[in-house]
C-alpha cells in the first residue's frame, strides 16, 4: 500500500483559474505559495535574484559572479540576446514576461507568438477555448492586457483540478506527447505525476512549423529520447529549412555572424533529471522542491514555494532521505559538482564563440579555396550548431549540473569536441590560411558583448561598438509602446 494524496471538495467551479480564489479554501498552502515572492536570497550557483545571466561584471542584482559572459554573442540575432535573466518564483511569471526585452515592446507586434503564454499563466484553457489552435500563432502583444499579473500567474490550476485538487495536466504540449506515447493520465503512478507537473514547463520545447500542424504550437522534441543526442536527431527532421546541407531540418534562427541555422535549448530540467542518480531512482521534483512542511505545527502540507532547496540552511528537503548526512556535507557535495560543471560550461561557451568566428572568417576568406570548400563550410556549420546545442542543454538547465552530474559533464565534453571540430573544418576550408588569425585568447579575438537590447539596437553608435554587430541591421528608432501591461504610447505610434 502506498499513501494517497487527500482529495477535496473545494466548492469552486471547475473553470476557476484565479489564484486568489484558492486562498480561503487552502490558507496554509496559499501562505507558502505567496513565499514565491521572495526574490533576494542567493545560493552559491542558484537562488532567486533575477540577475542578467551574461553579466559577470556587475554585482547583484544586475549581475553575478557565476555568469557566462558570452551569452549575447552566442544568441546574436535571436531575442535571447536582448535579455535573459535568472528565473525567480512562479508568482512573477506574468510580470516578468511582460517586461522582458525578448518580446518587442517598441512595436505593435511583439514578434513572438502567443505560445509563450503556455508556461506563464492559468489562462491557457480559456485562450484555447476562445481561439482554438489558432491561438499559438497570434502575436504576443495582442494579449498583454488579457490577464492579471497575480491572479493569473502560474498557480493552482496549472497543476490541480479546481473542484477536487487532483493533480491534472493543463499543458498542451505535454498532453500531446503523452497521448502520442499511448499513456493515460489516470494510470500514471502518483510518484511520476509529482514530477510531470513540472515537466509541463521545465522542459525543452520549440515552436512547431506549420508543415507539421498548427503553426507555433509548443512541442517537446522527445520522440527519439530525452538526451541531447536524441533531441539533436529529432531536430534533423521537423523543420522547413531550405539551406543547403540542412534541408528539412528545424532551426530557431540563423546566427548572423556565422550564418549557421541554430537551435536554442530551454530549461531541460525534466530531461536532465530523468536519468540522473535521483530521477532514475524515482526521486521526484516535488520531493526536493516541495518537501512537506508543518505550518500549523501538526499537519504536513506540500510546500508550495518552488525554489532552491539549498536556501534552507538545514537542507531538510534532502535530509528526508539522507538522514545520516549533515547539511554542510550535502551542500558541499552539490557545490563541488556545480563548480566542476560551471567551469566546463565556461570553456564550452568559449569554444562555441570561436566556432562562429572561425566560420565568419572562412566565409569572408578571399584567397584560394579547396575544391571541397562548400562541403567544409556546411560541416563547420553543422558542428557549430551541434556544439552550441549541447552547451545550451547544460547552460539552460537550471541546476548547474546537480540534477545529473555525469550527463552534464559528458554533454559539455561533447560540446567542446563538436565546437572544436567546427573550428577545424572552417580552417580547413581556407586551406589553413586563417589558422594563424584564429589563434590566441578568445577574449581578444571576440570580446564578450556586455550590453545589447532592442533599444540599443536603434543606436547607430552602439552598433559600432562590437565587430559582430556589423552583421545586424540598426533598427529604426521607435518609442516604447508597452511598459509591462500598460500601453505608454498611443496605438499607431510605431511606424
Amino acid at each position: 500500500v502506498e499513501p494517497v494524496t487527500p482529495v477535496y471538495k473545494t466548492n469552486l467551479p471547475k473553470e476557476e483559474i484565479r489564484n486568489s480564489q484558492f486562498e480561503k479554501v487552502f490558507p496554509l498552502h496559499y501562505k507558502t505559495y505567496l513565499r514565491n515572492d521572495e526574490s533576494t536570497i542567493m545560493t552559491e550557483y542558484g537562488g532567486s535574484v533575477p540577475y542578467n545571466k551574461h553579466d559577470n561584471v556587475n554585482p547583484l542584482p544586475e549581475g553575478y559572479k557565476h555568469a557566462q559572459p558570452y551569452l549575447k554573442n552566442l544568441w546574436l540575432g535571436y531575442p535571447f540576446s536582448f535579455e535573459y535573466r535568472a528565473a525567480r518564483g512562479h508568482t512573477y511569471a506574468v510580470d516578468d514576461i511582460m517586461h522582458i526585452d525578448r518580446i518587442n515592446r517598441y512595436d505593435e507586434k511583439g514578434g513572438l507568438p502567443s505560445t509563450c503564454y503556455n508556461c506563464k499563466t492559468t489562462m491557457m484553457p480559456k485562450f484555447i477555448e476562445e481561439h482554438g489552435q489558432d491561438f499559438w500563432a497570434k502575436d504576443f502583444n495582442q494579449f498583454r492586457q488579457a490577464l492579471d499579473a497575480k491572479d493569473h500567474t502560474i498557480g493552482c490550476t496549472n497543476c490541480h483540478n479546481a473542484e477536487t485538487m487532483e493533480l491534472q495536466l493543463y499543458s498542451e504540449p505535454l498532453k500531446a506527447f503523452l497521448e502520442a506515447d499511448g499513456r493515460d493520465w489516470n494510470t500514471i503512478p502518483r510518484n511520476e505525476k509529482r514530477s510531470m507537473m513540472c515537466g509541463q514547463c521545465h522542459v525543452e520545447y520549440y515552436f512547431q512549423k506549420k508543415e507539421f500542424g498548427p503553426a507555433a504550437r509548443p512541442v517537446f522534441p522527445w520522440t527519439e529520447g530525452l538526451d541531447p543526442e536524441n533531441m539533436y536527431t529529432y531536430y534533423k527532421g521537423h523543420g522547413d529549412s531550405t539551406i543547403k546541407g540542412f534541408e528539412g531540418q528545424f532551426y530557431d534562427w540563423i546566427h548572423p555572424v556565422s550564418q549557421t541555422p541554430m537551435l536554442k535549448a530551454q530549461h531541460p530540467e525534466y530531461e536532465m533529471w530523468s536519468n540522473g542518480a535521483h530521477g532514475a531512482a524515482g526521486v521526484a521534483c516535488a520531493d526536493c522542491h516541495m518537501s512537506y512542511k508543518r505550518l500549523d505545527g501538526k499537519k504536513k502540507i506540500s510546500d508550495h514555494q518552488w525554489t532552491s532547496p539549498l536556501k534552507d540552511v538545514n537542507l531538510n528537503a534532502c535530509r528526508q532521505c539522507h538522514t545520516d548526512k549533515t547539511p554542510e556535507y550535502l551542500r558541499g557535495r552539490v557545490v563541488d559538482t556545480q563548480q566542476k560543471v560551471f567551469d566546463q560550461l565556461l570553456i564550452a561557451q568559449e569554444i562555441s564563440v570561436r566556432a562562429h568566428e572561425a566560420i565568419r572568417r572562412a566565409a569572408e576568406y578571399a584567397g584560394d579555396k579547396p575544391a571541397s570548400y562548400e562541403d567544409l563550410m556546411i560541416e563547420a556549420r553543422e558542428w557549430c550548431r551541434k556544439g552550441q546545442f549541447f552547451w545550451d542543454y547544460v547552460s539552460a538547465e537550471n541546476s548547474v549540473g546537480f540534477h545529473n552530474p555525469t550527463k552534464a559533464l559528458d554533454t559539455l565534453a561533447k560540446s567542446q569536441q563538436y565546437s572544436q571540430k567546427s573550428v577545424e573544418a572552417a580552417i580547413r576550408a581556407t586551406g589553413f590560411a586563417i589558422a594563424k588569425d584564429l589563434d590566441g585568447d578568445i577574449k581578444q579575438l571576440v570580446p564578450p558583448i556586455l550590453n545589447h537590447s532592442r533599444e540599443l539596437m536603434m543606436d547607430p553608435e552602439h552598433m559600432k561598438s562590437h565587430e559582430w554587430f556589423k552583421y545586424l541591421k540598426v533598427a529604426p528608432k521607435a518609442p516604447l509602446i508597452w511598459d509591462g501591461q500598460t500601453r505608454v504610447a498611443p496605438a499607431g505610434a510605431a511606424s
Binding site: V4, G282, Y292, G297, I301, S302, R319, H322, D324
Partner: protein, 158 residues
C-alpha cells in the same frame, strides 16, 4: 542548526515536567499498558508516527513491535526510558510543534543498535562491529527505508 537543537531540547525538558504525570500514567500504568504501549498500533495512533508505522509495516521486521527496537530491553532501563520518551512524544504532539523532519535524537540510535545486536548476535559476532557507526551504515533500509521515493511513504495529512 545548533540553535535550533537547543530550542527543541529546551521544550523537551519542559515537556517532562508538564506532561510528566500523563506520561507516567500512560507508560508505567500496568503490565498490560507496558505491552500495549510497545506496539505499532499504539505508536501509530499518533499522526506524527504514521510514516514510521507505514514503512515499518513494509519491512522484514513488521512482526516486531516498535519498542523491540526503540526501548532498552532491560526492564530496569526500559521503564524510565519509556516514560521520558513517551512523555516527550505526547507533549510535542499535543502542545508543541511537530518538526518538519523527525530525526532520531538523544540515545535513540544507541538503544536501537543494542537491540539489533541482541537479536542478531550470532550473525555479527564473527566480524568487527565497530567498523561503521552503526548497523544502519550498511543496512540503510532497516526498517524505515528512507531512500524510497517519498510518495511511497508519505502524503500530506488530511
Amino acid at each position: 542548526m545548533s540553535l535550533l537543537k537547543e530550542g527543541q531540547s529546551g521544550r523537551r525538558w519542559q515537556a517532562v515536567i508538564l506532561a510528566g504525570l500523563a506520561g507516567v500514567a500512560l507508560t508505567v500504568g500496568a503490565g498490560l499498558a507496558m505491552v500495549t504501549t510497545d506496539t505499532a498500533g499504539f505508536c501509530g495512533g499518533c499522526h506524527a508516527m504514521s510514516e514510521a508505522v507505514l514503512t515499518h509495516s513494509q519491512s522484514v521486521h513488521s512482526k516486531l513491535s516498535c519498542n523491540d527496537c526503540h526501548a532498552p530491553h532491560n526492564i530496569v532501563a526500559k521503564i524510565p526510558f519509556k516514560a521520558a520518551a513517551g512523555t516527550r512524544d505526547i507533549y510535542v504532539n499535543t502542545l508543541g510543534t511537530v518538526p518538519d523532519l523527525i530525526h532520531p535524537v538523544g540515545n535513540t540510535l544507541e538503544v536501537v543498535q543494542a537491540n539489533c545486536v541482541r537479536c542478531h548476535t550470532s550473525t555479527v559476532m564473527t566480524v568487527n562491529m565497530d567498523n561503521k557507526e552503526s548497523c544502519m551504515s550498511c543496512h540503510r533500509h532497516v526498517p524505515h527505508t528512507p531512500r524510497k521515493p517519498i510518495s511511497t511513504r508519505k502524503a500530506a495529512d488530511v
